[in-house]
């Protein structure tokens, strides 16, 4: 039976099966009667908006039908990976900054350069958002919205403690100097969440502001043990001075999911997050929230932030409807009505025309996000290169190390060099499998 199939053939599935009309289009050349499989991550809110855009596209392109499929972020990747492994990937699917290099290098997403100016219009698209989708110089994914790192701030808690709200100028020292006054009236709540355990964004922001970066262009670490020791010491200091939450509390937040962050749990008055999450945070928090930038490393030191593509559309290179897929993506990011349907749910629109049309229609907290990202000023630095393969693994290791320090299992001086060694090993191991 199936035992007689060649193993490789068996494992990789048969793309012939895919092309043989299993998924709709009878003849790829025809513009009519096109059926696309779309797949994205997000909740129903995002699905509703996306479906509206698909409907608009259908109006402009009669004969277009689509499959809508979406799952939560954590479930998305195993399913997508399985489908790609089976040769059954969707036509158009979302991609994340964390994985774009992996997928691009493995040929799982289509290079789009040849389509620019033809099916893919990027005329008034933000340049840095285009760059964000490049790997090795080629464009592999189209940004669906820009966001930036931002701290969520519990306005009510600050008011209750009689401390002024953080401003754009605050550095870690500013938080430290106000900690005592805050803690006196805050009933156990601290000013900051433990940023050393927040994955790589806080570290990256801090490094960039000081002129360094997380990774180099060719995928190696762009910082050294001394930097890292200083970073760990900064947080050990903040912890000791009760400026940030203790390890027991921070460990309750395993994945930075909105519902387990320190701000939602009432343990801290701020938390490290992203600018497009304000609505999500406000939904589960009774207190009034606002957002501010990540703390500066020192007074007047900027350049840590950047406008990151929050998510991308990518196209399956083996799609039977390659051209239509790209047309869909182009419509998605350029059409004004589509832009209005999408709002800023995925991030700030990258096409200027769309942005201008959408801006007046936004709700208050959405406006806040838009203003924040558009007006970073001296906080804005240049876009870093896409993270290398295994950046996710390095970030996981970083969290574990930071946690070990927080629980007293190791010291910053020891952990710094040890981590650099581990991270280098991880990156080297990932690189050899290219």
């Amino acid at each position: 039976m199936t035992l007689s199939l060649d193993r490789r053939q068996f494992l990789m599935g048969s793309s012939a099966l895919v092309a043989a009309g299993a998924f709709g289009a009878t003849s790829p050349a025809m513009a009519a009667d096109v059926h696309l499989r779309l797949y994205w991550w997000g909740g129903q809110e995002r699905a509703d908006r996306t479906n509206k855009v698909s409907d608009l596209f259908a109006q402009a392109n009669p004969g277009f039908t689509h499959d809508e499929d979406f799952n939560a972020f954590n479930d998305y990747w195993p399913k997508l990976g399985t489908q790609v492994a089976g040769g059954n990937a969707p036509d158009v699917f979302q991609m994340d900054y964390r994985y774009i290099v992996e997928y691009a290098n493995r040929g799982a997403i289509q290079a789009l350069d040849d389509y620019i100016g033809k099916s893919l219009k990027l005329d008034d698209f933000d340049q840095d958002q285009i760059e964000g989708g490049r790997v090795n110089g080629k464009l592999y994914a189209i940004s669906l919205g820009a966001n930036s790192v931002a701290m969520m701030v519990n306005k009510d808690a600050f008011a209750a403690a009689g401390v002024d709200l953080p401003t754009r100028d605050w550095s870690y020292d500013d938080y430290k100097s106000r900690a005592e006054a805050f803690n006196a009236k805050s009933n156990g709540m601290r000013l900051l969440a433990d940023g050393s355990q927040g994955g790589d964004p806080p570290l990256e922001n801090w490094l960039r502001a000081r002129g360094k970066a997380l990774y180099t262009d060719d995928g190696k670490l762009a910082f050294d043990a001394d930097d890292l020791v200083e970073w760990f010491k900064l947080w050990a200091d903040l912890r000791a001075a009760n400026v940030c939450v203790g390890p027991d509390d921070q460990a309750l937040d395993a994945t930075a999911a909105i519902d387990t962050t320190m701000i939602t749990l009432g343990k801290a008055a701020t938390t490290f997050a992203n600018s497009n999450q304000l609505i999500g945070f406000q939904a589960v928090n009774k207190a009034q929230l606002t957002m501010i930038n990540f703390p500066r490393p020192g007074a007047g030191v900027g350049g840590g932030h950047y406008r990151k593509p929050s998510q991308f559309w990518s196209v399956n290179p083996k799609s039977a409807n390659l051209d239509e897929s790209i047309k869909y993506v182009s419509f998605f990011i350029n059409d004004i009505e589509a832009g209005k349907a999408l709002g800023v749910e995925r991030g700030i629109p990258c096409s200027k025309a769309v942005r201008d049309a959408v801006s007046p229609t936004l709700a208050v907290q959405d406006q806040e996000a838009l203003n924040f990202v558009s007006n970073l000023g001296d906080l804005l630095g240049s876009l870093p290169p896409s993270p290398p393969n295994a950046a996710g693994e390095v970030a996981t290791q970083l969290n574990t190390t930071a946690q070990a320090i927080a629980f007293g299992q190791t010291t910053p001086e020891d952990a710094g060099p040890a981590f650099i060694q581990e991270a280098t090993d991880i990156l080297a191991r990932a690189a050899t499998k290219a």
Binding site: F10, G42, D48, E68, A72, F73, P78, A283
Partner: protein, 297 residues
């Protein structure tokens, strides 16, 4: 028999006042312990029930079980909030689960009968293999299995979730039934054989009727395991109108974007209802023991 019992009770002294007292006391203690333990068991359900009626911003921030304001938002947004109303998902889950129950009961009992009662060459070897399939985590057979089903054209249908049950893929239940079958006295088989019964008749007329407790257990468990199964439907179903309850529930919560927590908890509560009904309805088959030891003694 009943005429003898008064004599027996006098002989064994079971009904002296001290004994009755002790019996009542242990009964009370037992009940107290059970009620206390029940509260422990019930607490998450109560929490979920309370959360389903709460406004969204209170769910994670309040410590009491009583919501400050009762809102039906969770139930309404949960039921109508997805592209399909929730009854679609209930029907899908029900269909799959019931089919799986059918498949498992039929196929696993046949297989278990063979392992438990029939003599054949290689029985131990096949039994070990059957058990061995339980030991491999599903994460690593996922992709080859996906490719297999893809090549058969079964992806995006219910088939990968249901057909394996009809082919006795659930070693858990085979093993369970083997253990129960082996507990049934062999004399019954032998008596039936002497009457000229074929293995099939023994299976059908002797084994199955006596196995009502384990069959009911297997049926209920299959239903529950299938109803709660998430990863299978996630991977094999790509069209939202085919989603099961568990997959649909997972779309309510996304760690990166806005979630519908009250909707999640509301629908979770509702999804427990069929299981409870199932439980209550089939209780008596679980209770029925073997009142007699068999047909011919």
């Amino acid at each position: 028999m009943t005429a003898e019992s008064p004599r027996l009770t006098i002989v064994t002294g079971a009904s002296t006042p001290a004994r009755i007292w002790r019996k009542r006391a242990t009964s009370v203690v037992a009940h107290v312990l059970l009620i206390g333990a029940s509260i422990l068991m019930l607490y998450p359900l109560l929490w979920m029930l309370s959360a389903s009626f709460r406004p969204e911003n209170e769910i994670f921030q309040s410590n009491s079980l009583i919501p400050s304001a009762v809102s039906l938002h969770g139930y309404i947004s949960g039921w109508f909030g997805l592209s399909r109303s929730f009854d679609t998902f209930f029907i899908n889950s029900l269909t799959i689960s019931l089919l799986c129950v059918l498949g498992n009961l039929a196929a696993c009992s046949l297989t278990a009968f063979a392992f438990a009662r029939l003599e054949f060459k290689g029985r131990g070897f096949w039994f070990a293999l059957m058990l061995g399939t339980l030991m491999l985590p599903y994460q690593v057979t996922l992709i080859p299995q996906y490719v297999l089903f893809l090549n058969m054209g079964w992806v995006n249908t219910f088939l990968p979730l249901v057909v394996p049950k009809f082919l006795a893929s659930d070693s858990f239940f085979i093993f369970l039934m083997v253990q129960f079958f082996r507990g049934i006295p062999k004399e019954l088989d032998e008596a039936a054989m002497m009457d000229g019964c074929s293995p099939w008749r023994i299976y059908y007329k002797v084994m199955l009727p006596l196995s009502l407790p384990v069959l009911t257990t297997a049926g209920i468990f299959t239903f529950i395991f299938t109803w709660d199964d998430f990863f299978g439907p996630l991977i094999y179903l790509s069209d939202i109108k085919t989603y099961t309850v568990t997959v649909a529930l997972r779309t309510f919560v996304d760690s990166t974007a806005e979630s519908n927590w009250s909707g999640l908890f509301a629908m979770s509560i509702l999804s427990l209802v069929p299981i409870f009904l199932l439980f209550l309805f089939f209780q008596r088959y679980l209770i029925e023991g073997i009142a007699t030891t068999g047909m011919k003694r």
